[in-house]
Symmetry: C2
Subunit: 313 residues, 2 copies
C-alpha cells in the first residue's frame, strides 16, 4: 500500500518526544511463521536437513544479506556455528548519511526528522533449523552472547551510533517472522527516550542515596536463581506476569565489557531461565497504550515462587 | 496459580520510575471472546435478543456490578441507552484506603508501593449485544462521550484521584474479554510517567517557542478529516501504521470541559474515523519492548492518504 521504496526515516514528535522509526521496506520481508497462526510452532528434534525455504540454514548462506563475521564450530565439523549478518530488510540503513551534529536539536525544540541511518544485524544462533537457543549447551549459549558483545563493541566505536539494542523474538505471537533461531541488533543514531528516563531515574536514586538501583540486594521472595556472578529475579514492579531480569552481582556498566569467564556463568543462567519461561499470555490493552502504565495480574513474589519451582534441568 | 484474593497494589521501581498495577483478582474475570480466537468476531445485525451469557445486555442488569448512573433512551422505549457501572473485577478498588500525602515520595527516592486505591468503571455503550459504537448515530455517540465527560468530572473531584484514563478495547486481539460494546475508565492515585513526560515535552516546546504542540496547524498531507471544531490526522511520528489523533482546533485543556454542542461535532468525526479504521496488524516485538522506540512500516503521509480515500459514509 505505502511506497515501499521510500528511504526510512526516524522522527521525534513535539508531544511525547519519542523517536519512531519509519521503514516501508520492512513490510516486504518474508515470513515462514505467520501462516502457522498466532501460537508458536513446536519444532521437533533436529533432523539435520535444511528447511526448503529457510535462508538461515546451513548451506543457504548465499540467500542471506552479507555476513559481518562468523564463529567457527569448535570441532570444525561444520563451516560455522554462529553467523552475524546484515538484515536484508533493515529498519535503519548503514548506507544512509548519519545525522550531522547540527541536526541534533534539544528535545523541547519540537518535531524532528532524521534520515534512517543505523545498523540492523541478525545473529543466526545455530546452523540447524530446529534447534532453539536453550537447546544449545552452556558453551553454545556463551558463544552467542560473545557474538553479541563483539558486535556491540564494533557498533559502539562508530561515532554516529548512540545506542545498541539486542533483542530476540521467539515465535509468531512474539512478532517473529523467521522460525530459525536468531536474534537481532539495532544500532540507532539516538538514545530512545525510555532508555534516557531509565538512566535519569537511576541517576536520581544514586544522587539521593549513594546506591545503584540494580546493585541493591535482591530480596529472597523475588529471586528465581543465583550464580556466583549473576542474579535472576522477577523485578519488584514487573510489567509482565513472568518477566525476569538477569543482573550482575558486581556493579558493571556495560554488557559488552563482561569478562569472558563470567559470560559462561551468564550463559548457564540464561539457558535455565529460558527453559523456565512461561508463554506470555497478557495483552497490552487500551489502558496500557494510553497511559504507559501496565496492569499485571501476577505479583512478582508469586511469579518468582512458580518460576523457582519449575525444573529446568 | 497466584493468590487471587490478595488486594491489589501499585508499585513504582527505582530503575524505570514507572508505575505498574498488580491485580491478581483480574485473572478471574470472565470472557465471552477469547474462544473465538485472535481475530475479531464479525457480529451480524442486532436481533434484539440478549445473548444467553452477557451481563451487559438489556434485562441482565442484576448480573453486573453496581450502577453509577444511566442515560435514558430519548423516546423512553427502553429503560436505558447507556449505563456507567463499576467494574466487577477492578484493577484498582474504590474501597481501598487512598495513599496518604506522606506516602508520596519523589521519583528518585527508589522503590515505592501503594495500596491499590482507585476507580475502575465500565461504560456500556448500548443495551443491544450486536451494536457497535460506530453503528450508533452521531447523537448516540455524543451521549457516550458525554457519559465519559460526566464520569471524568466526578472522578476529578476526588482529592486522591490524580489521573483518569478512558479507553476502549475492540475485539479479542485488542485484549477485550467482553464482546458487548463497552469502554472503560480508570482513575489512578498517580500520574503515569508517560503522561508526565508528554506534559513536560509540551511544556518545554511552549517555553521555547510560545506554541502549543497540539494547536500547531496540521499539514494537509497528514490530515484525514476536519470539522468546524476538530481535526483528525495521522500524527507526524505515529507509533502504529494507522494511528489517528483527534484534536480540538481551538486550544482547550480538558476533554470533560468541552461544550455540549462541540461534543456532537466530535461524535460525528469519531464515528467516521472508527468506520475508517484498519485492523492493527503490527506486533510489538523485542526491539520496541526493550527500547520503547517503535518501528512503523507505514509513513504517516501514506497512511493519511489511504484513510482519506476510505469511504466512511
Ligand atoms: N535472507 C535474509 N537475510 C538477512 N536477513 C533476513 C533474510 N530474510 C529475512 N531477514 C530478516 O530476518 C529478520 C527476522 O526477524 P524476527 O523474526 O525476529 O522479526 P522481525 O524483525 O521480522 O519483526 C518483529 O520484530 C520487530 C522489531 O522488534 C517488530 O518491529 C515487528 O513488528 C516484529 O514482527 C527480519 O527482520 C528480516 O528482515
Ligand atoms: N458482570 C460484570 N459487571 C461489571 N463488570 C464486568 C462484568 N463482567 C466483566 N466485567 C468487566 O468488564 C471488563 C471488560 O473489559 P475489556 O473487554 O475491555 O477488557 P479487559 O478489561 O478484560 O482487559 C483488557 O484491557 C486491560 C486494560 O487495558 C488489559 O490490562 C488486559 O490485558 C486486556 O485484556 C473487564 O475489565 C471485566 O472485569
Amino acid at each position: 500500500m505505502a511506497e515501499a521504496s521510500r528511504i526510512s526515516e526516524a522522527r521525534r514528535d513535539a508531544v511525547f518526544a519519542r523517536w519512531v522509526i519509519f521503514s516501508p521496506a520492512r513490510s516486504r520481508r518474508p515470513t515462514d511463521l505467520k501462516s502457522h497462526g498466532p501460537a508458536n510452532p513446536s519444532p521437533g528434534p533436529d533432523d539435520g536437513a535444511p528447511k526448503p525455504s529457510c535462508p538461515f540454514c546451513l548451506g543457504r548462506e548465499s540467500e542471506c544479506a552479507p555476513e559481518i563475521f562468523r564463529v567457527p564450530a569448535p570441532d570444525e565439523s561444520l563451516p560455522w556455528r554462529i553467523r552475524v549478518i546484515e538484515n536484508l530488510f533493515p529498519a535503519l540503513r548503514r548506507e544512509a548519511a548519519p545525522p550531522a551534529p547540527e541536526d541534533e536539536e534539544p528535545v523541547g525544540a519540537g518535531e524532528c526528522a532524521v534520515r534512517g541511518f543505523g545498523f540492523h544485524d541478525v545473529v543466526i544462533e545455530t546452523p540447524h533449523h530446529e534447534v532453539r537457543l536453550w537447546d544449545l549447551d552452556a558453551e553454545g549459549v556463551r558463544d552467542v552472547l560473545l557474538a553479541y558483545a563483539r558486535r556491540v563493541q564494533q557498533l559502539a566505536e562508530h561515532p554516529a551510533v548512540k545506542y545498541v539494542q539486542v533483542f530476540k523474538n521467539q515465535g509468531a505471537s512474539a512478532g517473529a517472522s523467521m522460525a530459525h533461531s536468531h536474534s537481532q541488533m539495532l544500532g540507532t543514531p539516538f538514545v530512545p527516550p525510555s532508555v534516557t528516563s531509565r538512566l535519569n531515574c537511576m541517576k536520581e536514586v544514586f544522587e539521593r542515596s549513594g546506591k545503584c538501583s540494580l546493585c541493591a540486594v535482591v530480596s529472597k521472595d523475588i529471586l528465581v536463581s543465583e550464580t556466583h556472578n549473576f542474579s535472576a529475579f522477577v523485578p519488584f514492579a514487573a510489567s509482565y506476569p513472568f518477566e525476569i531480569w538477569i543482573v550482575p552481582r558486581q556493579h558493571s556498566s556495560y554488557f559488552h565489557e563482561t569478562d569472558q569467564d563470567k559470560v559462561l556463568d551468564l550463559a548457564g543462567l540464561l539457558k535455565s531461565m529460558l527453559q523456565k519461561l512461561l508463554p506470555q499470555l497478557s495483552v497490552i490493552g487500551g489502558f496500557e497504550m494510553g497511559s504507559g502504565c501496565h496492569i499485571n495480574p501476577v505479583f512478582p513474589e508469586d511469579a518468582a515462587k512458580i518460576l523457582r519451582e519449575i525444573d529446568s534441568s
